[in-house]
């Protein structure tokens, strides 16, 4: 119960900060504090009457809620797909890497540092160019490099673009954490008992690193939502950020951000709750 109250508080505070921030351009444009509060008030009222919100589509006012759901779920699919794939790949490869000898691991870590520092824009550009190059050389179109209009859906390219860097981040973080965990006493004990290294790695070490990875994944997600905007604009995808960017009003920004926040918030709350329960139980033992 206490946790639920805390989470509700956190959610409300998130909404509040989004609304407060969305009024900021008004403050900057007019250099006037009262105008800012006026704007925040209108945004707030607009949020309360969420189902009556309208947006401009090629000069025509349309109800927001009617049109938003499809692009919204499309964006969520891309985002979650990318996060999930990146996480799974990284986990499996970490297990593989930890079985390798030390010098190979060091080389892999150095390569990862290099990959980590690729700017995301460069990754998107390279993917874009790579597809065109493959098409020119072989005549095989791996996927469309841009979607046309609202009906055309592309999945492979945006998910690949979005997953590459988070995958590298996860992979490096997992290797570092797992290596640290491998030095602990209980690992030594279980290895001495004759357990297989892979077994210890998968069933004991991974469980203990999962909490750290969970906290780390928050900042990865933070980075990914920013990237989503970029990917959707570069590949002309009709997702939620399309509404955010093309109808550049504070109300719109607040509404879209709140919509984006809710699912992630719920998922993280669920995970946090599981971890809390889990760690409490182990303490009791």
């Amino acid at each position: 119960m206490k946790i639920a109250k805390k989470l509700l508080m956190q959610l409300l505070l998130t909404f509040l900060s989004i609304i407060l921030i969305s009024g900021l351009p008004e403050l900057i444009m007019n250099k006037n504090v009262s105008a800012y509060f006026e704007k925040v008030k209108t945004v707030f009222i607009e949020m309360l009457r969420f189902n009556e919100m309208t947006y401009l589509n090629q000069g025509i006012k349309r109800p927001f809620l009617e049109d938003i759901w499809e692009p919204y779920f499309y964006s969520l699919t891309i985002l979650f797909g990318a996060l999930f794939i990146a996480f799974c790949f990284a986990q499996v490869l970490t297990w593989g890497t930890l079985m390798l000898p030390n010098f190979l691991r060091r080389i892999i870590k150095n390569i990862l540092t290099f990959l980590e520092s690729l700017p995301d824009l460069l990754v998107f550009a390279l993917v874009q160019m790579g597809i065109v190059l493959i098409y020119k050389k072989t005549g095989v179109l791996v996927s469309n490099v841009a979607s046309l209009g609202a009906e055309d859906r592309i999945y492979i390219v945006p998910i690949t673009c979005l997953m590459l860097l988070p995958f590298v981040y996860f992979y490096k973080m997992m290797i570092l954490m797992t290596e640290e965990e491998m030095g602990k006493q209980y690992v030594e004990t279980s290895l001495a008992k004759g357990m297989k290294r892979l077994y210890v790695l998968v069933f004991h070490v991974t469980r203990n690193t999962s909490e750290g990875i969970f906290h780390f994944s928050k900042s990865v997600l933070w980075f990914m939502i920013s990237n989503l905007l970029l990917v959707e604009i570069i590949f002309n995808i009709h997702g939620i950020t399309h509404y955010m960017y093309h109808d550049f009003r504070p109300e719109m920004l607040a509404a879209c951000l709140i919509l984006l926040v809710i699912p992630f918030f719920l998922i993280f709350a669920l995970f946090e709750w599981t971890i809390m329960r889990y760690s409490k139980r182990s303490e009791a033992l």
Partner: protein, 341 residues
């Protein structure tokens, strides 16, 4: 003294570029070379701009024949110095915020405050930065007079951009540094100092600071990386550092221009060439990548330095290696783990 190859490599890449950029502007007045047509010895034109990267033009040229490498060099000082300044400001601000958080708050309040601040994890920085900075950085137009103007002056624009990019991360970074401080305060030696009657100020100055300062340098490097990434994003959305010069001519508008050739401007201006002339578009982005790598190297090298600074030389390690060799040579026994299961 820091004895670490990685650290110094990163350091020299960054500061070498800044210094050469300043030298370029002081002694050569930042004259970017422009070559539109190349002739061979018989004065027959052989090639015209844009040129591909070659020995003559390391990063190629843009369609007007301006040398991209020269532009990059000219802009480096603006971008890199502002990145470093923003990074430093971020760390200092968050540090100031973190002090009361760690020293004067009871554990319980700090934890719950931490929870509340983590709501900022769901508000993506790039989107906010684009949203807040566009009225500042984009040139506006008064409709009846057709007069182009900026809301703020050049210095104000730069100042505001730096302040906004700083303040947006203070909640997250502040709580992170606060946690670092609080975990230092829980160490045994702090308790010892308290027992001996040290004041809060003394604990802070003599015990917490020496512990925290090196960690803050690593945090600074990471923040610089983040700022560089945001600069590429802002560049892509045509929000250039110091303002975007937009041509409102309805008939033949020039593309948005950066006022100083700083790098996010180059990224924004050249990204449209990505399919036709990839070399032009990729040059500035790759430069960003190199700088990010340099900052990463600095952070990693410094981390290594912190881990090994108290180890006197590596002699001990070497003798143990020798011993091992000797043991292997004698062949009297072998390790169980090597025998195979």
């Amino acid at each position: 003294m820091i004895k670490n190859f990685k650290f110094w490599t990163g350091f020299f890449i960054i500061f070498g570029l800044i210094v050469s950029s300043i030298i370029f502007s002081v002694f050569f007045d930042s004259q970017v070379r422009q070559v539109q047509v190349l002739y061979d010895e018989n004065m027959t034109p052989i090639e015209a701009a844009p040129f591909e990267p070659s020995f003559m033009f390391p990063l190629g040229t843009d369609p007007l024949g301006y040398d991209t490498a020269g532009k990059v060099l000219q802009g480096a000082k603006f971008t890199l110095i502002s990145v470093i300044v923003i990074g430093v400001l971020r760390v200092i601000f968050s540090f100031v915020v973190a002090i009361p958080l760690a020293f004067y708050m009871p554990e319980k309040i700090r934890k719950s405050l931490d929870q509340l601040l983590s709501s900022f994890y769901f508000i993506p920085l790039t989107i906010l930065a684009i949203f807040i900075l566009s009225p500042i950085l984009k040139e506006q137009i008064k409709i009846p007079e057709m007069e182009e103007y900026f809301i703020y002056s050049f210095a104000e624009r730069i100042g505001l951009e730096i302040i906004i990019l700083t303040l947006l991360v203070v909640p997250l970074l502040g709580s992170m540094i606060g946690n670092m401080m609080a975990s230092t305060l829980k160490e045994d030696f702090i308790e010892g100092a308290n027992v001996l009657g040290a004041s809060r100020w003394r604990v802070f100055k003599k015990h917490v600071m020496p512990h925290l300062l090196p960690k803050l340098i690593i945090v600074w490097c990471q923040q610089c990386v983040q700022v560089l990434i945001i600069f590429t994003h802002l560049g892509y959305f045509k929000l250039f550092f110091g303002g975007t010069d937009i041509d409102f001519n309805p008939f033949w508008g020039d593309p948005p221009k950066s006022l100083s050739n700083e790098w996010s401007g180059l990224v924004g201006n050249y990204y449209t060439y990505i399919q036709g002339n990839p070399a032009i578009a990729l040059g500035p982005i790759i430069m960003f990548g190199i700088e990010i790598y340099a900052f990463q190297l600095m952070a990693e090298g410094f981390q290594k330095h912190l881990e090994t600074r108290n180890v006197k030389g590596f002699k001990e390690e070497k003798t143990s290696e020798k011993q091992e060799v000797a043991v292997k040579a004698s062949g009297k026994f072998q390790f169980l783990q090597n025998r195979g299961a």
